[in-house]
Subunit: 329 residues, 2 copies
Amino acid sequence: MHAMVLKAFGGPDNLQPAEIDRPEPRAGEVLVRVHACSLNPVDMRIRTGLPIGPALPAVLGADLAGAVEAVAEGVTGFAPGDEVYGCAGGVRGLGGSFADYIAADARLLALKPRNLSMREAAALPLVSITAANCMSRAAVGASDHVLVHAGCGGVGHVAVQLAKARGARVAATVSSPEKAEIARTLGADDVILYGSESVADYVRRLTGGRGFDVVVDTVGGENLDRSFQAAAAGGRVAATAARSTHDLSPLHAKALSLHVVFMLIPLLENVGREDHGRIMREVAALAEAGKLRPLIDAARFTLGQLPDAFRLLESGKASGKVVVDLIRG
Amino acid sequence: MHAMVLKAFGGPDNLQPAEIDRPEPRAGEVLVRVHACSLNPVDMRIRTGLPIGPALPAVLGADLAGAVEAVAEGVTGFAPGDEVYGCAGGVRGLGGSFADYIAADARLLALKPRNLSMREAAALPLVSITAANCMSRAAVGASDHVLVHAGCGGVGHVAVQLAKARGARVAATVSSPEKAEIARTLGADDVILYGSESVADYVRRLTGGRGFDVVVDTVGGENLDRSFQAAAAGGRVAATAARSTHDLSPLHAKALSLHVVFMLIPLLENVGREDHGRIMREVAALAEAGKLRPLIDAARFTLGQLPDAFRLLESGKASGKVVVDLIRG
C-alpha cells in the first residue's frame, strides 16, 4: 500500500512516500481503508521528536475516516463496508492514518456521521474527543457561561458547538473580524477580539465583572493566566496545553478547579479506549442532528502532498482543520 | 461582654482583653453565647494583616460552639437554648468568636453534635468544611485510593475520616511514629512517614506505581509538587494552600484535575452560606454516628489566655486543634 513514512524526526519533507505492507489487523482490530485523514498539531510535534511517537521508521497520523475492509476476531459492531471514523493512530504502539490502510483498535472507532463526507468526518476525531473531555471534566451545563479561547481553532470550534449543545451561553475569543463571524455561525453568543479587548474589559462587558463559570483554554502559556483571570469564583478551567509554569494564586483566591485534558492517554496507555468510541458515537449523533460541523480549510491535498499539508498547518494560516484526501470524495 | 480585641495587626499580645457592647443580631442572625472557640492558622494570618480581616479594632475568631441566646427576624430552625456550632466570623463584615457573644449568620450554623462537648464541637467547623469541600470537589468515592497529606493536621485529620466515611482506601502522611499511630486510630489504612520515604517509594509500595486517585494537600508549596507526583493518571488533587508557583507539566502528562479549596469565600462574599450550614449538619450526623471526631490538643485556655493559645498554635507543637474555653465544660 501507499504510505508516507517518517525515517528520521524533522521537517515536513522527512515524510516520504513508500510502498509498504498492508497492516494485518490483530484481535480487536479493524482494517480500515483510509479515505481521508486530518492533521493535528500533535502530529507535527511527534514528527519533530516528541517522545510519545512510534518507533521509526513509522507511519504517523491520528485522525481518519474510511471504510472497513476486514475485522479481526473479537470485534463486534463493525462489518466490512461500514464507514467509520476515529482517532486511532500516530503514537507509540499504534499504526498511522497517513497510509492507504490502518489496523485500528475497534474501541476507538464509530460509524461515521451519515450526513458528513469522509473529508468532514476525518476532521473531527481528535479535536472532538478533546473538546468533549473539556465539557465532561468541567461538567458544562445549561446554566453555565462558558468562555472558549481560540473559538475558531481545532478544539475551540468544536468546544463552542458542544457547549451550545449543552445549553450553555458561550463567548469565544478570536483573532479577527472574519473569525468573529465564523464563531457566530458556530453558535457563539458573544465574540471577543482578543487583540483589542483586555480580559478585565470583556469580563466586565459580558459577565458584569463576575467572570465565566467555565473557561476552555487550548492556547496555554500566558493565555492560561488570562483564563484564571477570566474565571468566576468557583469556576472551572479546562486546559489542553498546560506544560508551563504558573502562579496559582488566582486559583486560590477564587477556589478554581483546573482540569487538564490530554486526550492521547487512552491511546498511549491502553486504558479507557472505550470512552473514545463512545464519544465518537455521541459526536456522530450531534453531527446528524445538525448541532456539530467541522471547520475545514479549503485547500485539498493528496497523500503524496502531505508535506505541503503540514506546511499549511504550521503556517498558522489554515482556516479550520487541514485534511488530506486519499480517495477524492 | 468580655472580648479579646485586636487594635493593631501583629503578634499574639496585640489581642487585648476589653469590655465591649454585646452585638445586636440583625435579620437572619442568631445571638450565640460562645462556650468554646478554636484557633485556625487563618486567624493568625488575619491577626498579622492578611487583607481579608475585619476593620480594626476588631474581634477575630471564626470557629465557635455555644448556646443560642436570641434569634432575630427571618431565622428559622434555631431557638434560644439550642446548642449550635459553626464557622461564622473573623473576616471582614462579620463579628468574631473570641468574645462572650457573637451575632452569627444563621445559615452558617447547625445544631451541635449531641455526643460532642462544646470544646470538641468548636474544633470542627472550619477544618470540617474545608475537608468536606475537598471531598466533594474531588468527588471522593468508595472506589478511590486517597492520599491525605498531614493526616494529623487540622484539615487532614478530618479529611482522613471523611474519606473513610465515603468508603475510600486512605493513606496519610505524618511526621512521626506517634502521629502514625494517631492516623491509624482515625482510620487511615496506611501511613507514610514523609521524612523517611520518597514519593516514588510510597507510590510504589501502596499503589503498585499507579498513583492515588485523589490527593488532599493542605501543606502547599513544594508539597503540592509532591501531590502532583503522587496522583494517578486522571487523578484529582484537592489543595487548600495554592498561592505558589508551579510547573504544571505533571498535570498535563497525567491529565489531572486540581481543585483549589478556599472555604472562606462564602463568608467573604456572602454567597453559598447555606452550603456551610448543610455541611455542619452532615458533620454533626457523622459525629453522632461515631464516624468523625476531632483531634484536640490537651492544653486548656481561657479567653484571657488567647495569646498563649496562639503561641501554641504558632509553635507547630500542638497535637490537634487548639481550643479556648469561655465556659469551662
